[in-house]
């Protein structure tokens, strides 16, 4: 992987239209995929470190109940849900993106969150309560930036019109909610089935 490939995510951040175009048509997919996983990993790392090491004034977590694995899940599950929901929808809506492309686009769009939040973990240790508004401003700014990148990315990867992209994004969010509901339903049913089997087992064992 050469230096230019490594710099491409940064290029996408500031030139989303050109960057995503290059990503879809010019770049090697394998390299981009590796970079995407790298970004995802860094996001998880940022989240875990942020929960643990953010300054006292902005860190409202109970350290006793922090779980790094769960923090990873909080990042991975939404990203995967988003990709799956978007892919399922856009195949029906004449989107040109493949699943891998959607995944890469999504991960590249998350880079501003990593780059802005990571330094703020340490800076937040040196700020006062009044200055904490900067902290929250930059957090929101990062999310907005990511949202914008996501929008441009989805538009480019599927070759959609701007208004259709907005519609797709809204529908994707709806589909995510639907998926979450189905997953919960599934797990609840499995749980009940296991409970049923274990009860029967107990009944038989205790009968002797």
């Amino acid at each position: 992987m050469n230096r230019e490939a490594l710099q491409h995510p940064l290029y996408v951040m500031v030139h989303p239209f050109n960057g995503y175009w290059d990503l879809k048509y010019e770049r090697s997919q394998k390299t981009s995929l590796i970079l995407s996983f790298g970004i995802l990993f860094m996001l998880i790392l940022t989240n875990v470190l942020g929960e643990q090491y953010s300054g006292f004034l902005v860190n409202l977590n109970n350290p006793r109940y922090l779980n790094s694995l769960l923090e990873a899940v909080y990042v991975l599950v939404p990203v995967l849900f988003w990709c799956v929901a978007n892919w399922s929808l856009t195949t029906l809506m004449d989107g040109e993106g493949k699943f891998v492309e959607i995944f890469i686009t999504t991960c590249f769009a998350l880079l501003p969150i990593v780059l802005i939040n990571f330094p703020w973990i340490w800076i937040s240790n040196f700020i006062s309560a009044q200055e904490s508004s900067f902290y929250y401003f930059f957090k929101n700014f990062a999310i907005l930036w990511s949202g914008l990148l996501m929008y441009v990315g989805i538009m480019t990867v599927h070759q959609f019109s701007p208004s259709k992209t907005i519609g797709t994004i809204l529908l994707t969010l709806l589909a995510m909610a639907f998926m979450a509901f189905l997953t919960l339903l599934f797990f609840s049913l499995v749980q009940q089935m296991i409970a049923f089997v274990s009860t029967i087992y107990q009944e038989i064992v205790l009968r002797r």
Binding site: F56, L57, S128
Partner: protein
């Protein structure tokens, strides 16, 4: 082989130890048998040393006045005389410091006629030892002077503020220094009734607000007038009790599930209770329906330094808060042992002791401070009086007795802040989860550090910039050389 088994066994043992450690470290639940606990910043119930312990049980028989029958209220004067309102026997009994009966009053003279009480529910004794009795059965307030002769009687008032079918059923009474009389009357939702010193009704103060949930509001808004009249009327919650402090502020408890069950009312009837603590003062935070459901606060008692205690009848517990609304300690319970109650109805302080009246058993339980309670009380008092050094010393002792007392760390932090030890101060505020004060201390500390190292920081910055410029020039020169070579 043997070595391997041994290894396995030590491993298992270690695992067991770890697991049991984890179990031992479980937080004490409010529902558990742990007699004394407090709520941490995170809202968990954590074990705490007991601040008060029951020492004496006073019954009517032990005081020499004959058994109490359904007593409803007690009042303690500054010289520690206890006035017990023995409602079932239509009398009040005065006990001295040794809890012996000195006087029983069951009748009084008014306008040359002998009068009696009829199921009185509330009693208040002023500093001049004048006695006010809410004579509920007779629908009047009786005002006796210190020699128990009737000075005045307040009957049902007449006013435009009152409805035509108004029924005057005074159940609790309190009197401030200016002899204004505050009456809690059963079935009145407009707040407390305020009477002037002359016994003339003035107005209502401090009505609770109605809580309407969104669903209810929606149905009401789409229903017709006829339908609305069929619906349940929403009336504000009634107060359950009141007390008055030295400055004349009313402290009141009510049965409000949604709003604030404890209120401090000023002369306009506005609620000015400080709620700066980790959560609003409201009794137990964690409870189950099995153990009696939400706290039902039935009495409040204000002592000096704005410390106040409330009595929860559903679990028989006493919760004591300081003026800022931090929970200091919890004691009591429902049960059959000393220090537990059947149906607690009233709470009073006598010096540093706390007295709880049990209606069904006709007993008064006297609680006295333990060393922990004494230290904590004295710390809170010295802080209230502005003696921060003393407070800090006492809070340090409190922390030694109970490391879970997060509030105490703030007390130490404040003393450090005053002394200019900003770093230590910030550390203590962090331990107390006090973000506002932490920020103050931290800002001062940061300023101090930056000022102390200003020259170092500036030199470092300038050196970095120079280095960067130098590097750039060096690179440019190199590039130029390459071009020249080609």
């Amino acid at each position: 082989m043997v070595a391997r088994i041994k290894k396995l066994r030590t491993g298992l043992l270690a695992l067991c130890c770890l697991v049991s450690l984890g179990l031992g470290g479980e937080l004490a639940l409010a529902e558990s048998a742990a007699p004394s606990y407090n709520y941490s910043y995170w809202g968990n119930a954590v074990a705490a040393p007991s601040a008060y312990e029951a020492t004496t049980l006073i019954t009517g028989a032990s005081s020499g006045a004959g058994p109490f029958n359904n007593p409803q209220d007690i009042q303690v004067t500054a010289d520690k005389q206890i006035y017990v309102l023995d409602s079932g026997n239509n009398r009040f009994v005065i006990l001295d410091q040794d809890y012996k009966s000195v006087k029983t009053v069951d009748a009084f003279q008014f306008k040359g006629k002998a009068e009696k009480f009829n199921n009185p529910q509330g009693i208040y004794v002023t500093q001049q030892k004048e006695v006010y009795v809410a004579d509920t059965g007779n629908k009047r307030i009786v005002h006796l002077d210190s020699s128990f002769k009737a000075v005045g009687i307040i009957e049902a008032p007449k006013s435009e503020l009152l409805q035509a079918n108004f029924e005057f059923q005074p159940v609790r009474v309190a009197v401030d220094k200016a002899d204004r009389i505050y009456v809690m009357s059963a079935g009145v939702f407009d707040g407390f009734m305020e009477f002037g010193a002359d016994g003339v009704f003035k107005s209502f103060i401090g009505a609770n607000r109605v809580h309407v949930d969104a669903v209810e509001y929606f149905w009401k808004s789409i229903s017709t007038k006829a339908q609305r009249e069929q619906m349940v009327m929403y009336t504000p919650t009634e107060f359950t009790n009141l007390d008055i402090n030295d400055e004349g502020f009313l402290y009141a408890t009510n049965g409000d599930d949604y709003g604030d069950p404890i209120k401090k009312l000023n002369a306009q009837g506005a609620d000015i209770l400080r709620r700066e603590g980790y959560y609003k003062p409201s009794g137990d935070l964690l409870y189950s329906t099995r153990s009696g459901g939400a706290p039902r606060l039935v009495d409040i008692d204000v002592s000096d330094s704005e410390i106040y205690a409330v009595l929860d009848a559903s679990r028989g517990r006493v919760f004591t808060y300081n003026g800022d609304g931090y929970l200091l300690y919890i004691f009591g319970g429902i049960g059959n042992r000393l220090g537990e109650f059947n149906t607690p109805v009233a709470i009073e302080h006598s010096g540093d002791d706390i007295l709880v009246l049990d209606q069904a058993l006709g007993e008064i339980t006297v609680f006295q401070t333990t060393e922990y309670g004494r230290t904590l009380n004295s710390a809170v008092r010295s802080y209230y009086n502005g003696d921060e050094e003393m407070a800090s010393r006492e809070f340090s002792k409190v922390v030694n007795l109970n490391a879970n007392m997060e509030y105490a760390y703030a007390g130490i932090g404040k003393a450090f802040l005053r002394q200019g030890e900003y770093k230590e101060s910030a550390e203590y505020f962090e331990r107390s989860m006090d973000r506002t004060n932490y920020s103050k201390a931290f800002l001062l500390y940061r300023k101090e550090v930056l000022r102390g190292h200003f020259s170092t920081i500036m030199t470092g910055l300038i050196a970095l910039v120079a280095l960067w410029l130098g590097l750039r020039m060096f690179r440019k020169m190199k590039a130029r050389k390459k071009v020249e070579l080609h």
